[in-house]
């Protein structure tokens, strides 16, 4: 059974004037089908305003669809009864960490989630330690979140969700503000969680390099899923991605340009290792 099963999902935002009359309708999701198996690492790409974040909010039932069906972990997301079950099994990390940290000390912030669902105290502290160290923030456990930089705050926010030990985490551009090292650490932490604990991951990003190890990639445009497949399948279509305001990883683009210039480099190269290998073979 799929962990996430979305069929023909539609979401409309209504714009109203001061009297409450509808001025306009924006269709943010326009018939989205999404199937995610338990333990999969699924990346979602799309330009600003393509509907990625709206989709993410449905997976945590922060929004409910105008039309279509959505089942998460075998539960109907439209059914009020399952709201808290679904939120517990699908944790969410947002883009701006400032909106997610609430406590005055880092470790208390991470403990907030598990404490709220009644985890015993000993277990809370174990989880806090484990999740903070998995994002490289353990040495800041006694600091105030206010004194951290943006990247550090984001890692604390991710630790907070990890401490809930959810079956699935949905990350909405979690690395947008991090430096290369921070980005790598966060991505590695998420990948480890996926690989070792079998946590299902929905990873939304604008950095093409971050999705090359994903199991599958979905590309969204104007509220629709316009491409899906393995990273190799998706990134071998450089022109199509550009038409959706996206790009391909720098190495893939270089391989593509070299191929255009007449070198016999295979299609859909994703990593430096692959390109080095194929160039050495040619030489």
């Amino acid at each position: 059974m799929n962990f996430i099963e979305a069929r023909k999902l539609v979401h409309e935002y209504f714009r109203r004037d001061e009297e409450g009359n509808v001025e306009g309708i924006l269709t943010a999701l326009d018939g989205v089908d999404l199937q995610v198996k338990p333990g999969e690492f699924v990346a979602v790409l799309g330009h600003n305003g393509s509907g990625k974040s709206t989709l993410a909010k449905h997976l945590n039932v922060l929004l409910r669809a105008s039309e279509g069906t959505l089942w998460i972990d075998g539960k109907d997301a439209m059914d009020e009864e399952y709201l808290w079950d679904i939120r517990r099994s699908a944790g969410m990390v947002f883009q701006n960490p400032d909106n997610q940290l609430i406590a005055s000390v880092v470790e208390e912030d991470v403990a907030f989630g598990p404490e709220n669902i009644g985890v015993p105290t000993d277990e809370i502290w174990k989880r806090v330690e484990k999740s903070l160290s998995s994002v490289g923030m353990l040495k800041y456990r006694a600091h105030s979140p206010n004194k951290l930089s943006g990247g550090q705050k984001q890692r604390v926010a991710i630790a907070g969700v990890m401490a809930m030990e959810p079956k699935c985490i949905v990350l909405d551009e979690p690395t947008a503000m991090l430096d290369p090292n921070g980005r790598r650490e966060v991505l590695e932490a998420v990948e480890t969680l996926n690989r070792e604990k079998g946590v299902t991951v929905i990873f939304i990003t604008h950095y093409m390099e971050e999705v090359i190890r994903a199991d599958r990639v979905y590309v969204m445009d104007h509220g629709k899923v316009v491409m899906q497949g393995t990273p190799r399948q998706v990134f071998s279509q450089a022109e199509a991605l550009k038409s959706y305001r996206l790009d391909v990883p720098q190495i893939t683009l270089l391989a593509y340009e070299l191929r255009k210039a007449g070198l016999d480099v295979p299609e859909g190269i994703l990593t430096r290792e692959e390109l080095v290998e194929s160039l050495c073979r040619l030489y």
Binding site: N48, G151, Q152, D179, R245, I251, L254, E257, C280
Partner: protein
């Protein structure tokens, strides 16, 4: 025209338990019309540094000279400095607040004490320079896309007619097309009006592509300062401080390690492409000559 920083130190929350030394003896000279990239891991002092350049933060010790004048002198007009050195913060679109885009862009120049007419003329010019279609100008800024909002926020700073433009991570959270648009805009302003541009960025690929000089910050000090080729040549040292070189720079080194006679200096895609094709074209010719000789 230049900005000179002389042994600038800055300490946050001095005398409290949270005291932190954010800048340590920073010496820098920023010349007229330069396009500079500022890189460093989170917490390295980049944002603290740029807030000194327009006087938002006052150095704990040391001096800053703008066009030869000490900005900490008592009679120095620091309000004017803030219009000369335009600072675009991270996520500047969060600072949009007026009911129309046009009014929002007028806010800065009006605040400078300019007449309504002059402020509006500047807003016209600024909005035109960011390439936002005129039909949007009298709409609410909140209905624009992320990238458009950010460009409007940048227009708000441009309308102050700064001599120096500082962009603090201007592409964070934007899609690849939006990133290119913002950076091309910055490059165009640098070229056309000879504006000095400082670009704070976490994207080494972007920095390599656009700037002529890179300043690397680490633990509040200037760790490296030079052309992209020079700085990214020290990629191992960059990694030690949480940074990296562009992907193609690594590729060049790896190809060389595998025995290809390649120039390892490339830092952009175009340079890498040229270097690789050069290696293969040389070989291609040799091969052709070989076959010709065989045929003869």
């Amino acid at each position: 025209m230049s900005i000179i920083l002389d042994k600038v130190n800055y300490i946050y929350s001095q005398g409290t338990a949270y005291e932190s030394h954010a800048l340590r003896d920073v010496n820098l000279q920023i010349g007229d019309g330069e396009f500079i990239g500022v890189i460093g891991h989170t917490g390295s002092g980049k944002s603290t540094l740029i807030q000194h350049l327009n006087g938002l933060l006052k150095a704990t010790s040391g001096g800053i000279y703008y066009n030869g004048r000490d900005i900490y002198e008592e009679d120095y007009n620091r309000k004017e400095l803030r219009s000369k050195v335009g600072l675009v913060f991270q996520y500047p679109e969060h600072q949009l607040f007026e009911s129309t885009i046009f009014e929002d862009v007028c806010f800065g120049p009006k605040n400078l004490g300019l007449s309504k007419k002059e402020a509006e003329l500047r807003a016209f010019a600024a909005l035109r320079s960011i390439g936002l279609p005129e039909e949007y100008w009298y709409q609410s800024p909140f209905e624009l896309s992320g990238g458009q909002k950010r460009r409007v926020a940048i227009a708000g700073v441009l309308a102050m007619k700064p001599e120096v433009l500082i962009l603090d991570e201007p592409t964070a959270g934007l899609d690849p097309k939006g990133r290119d648009e913002i950076l091309q805009q910055a490059a165009a302003m640098h070229q056309e009006s000879n504006m000095t541009v400082l670009l704070v960025s976490h994207s080494m690929e972007d920095v390599a592509e656009y700037v002529g000089r890179i300043i690397v910050m680490n633990q509040g000090s200037v760790m490296m300062d030079g052309a992209p080729k020079e700085v990214f040549g020290h990629y191992q040292e960059l990694e030690e401080v949480g940074l990296a070189a562009p992907q193609v720079a690594y590729l060049m080194h790896e190809l060389k390690q595998h025995g290809l006679p390649i120039d390892t200096g490339a830092t952009t895609l175009e340079e890498a492409q040229a270097s690789i094709l050069q290696v293969f074209s040389g070989r291609g010719r040799n091969q052709q000559q070989g076959t010709k000789q065989e045929m003869l």
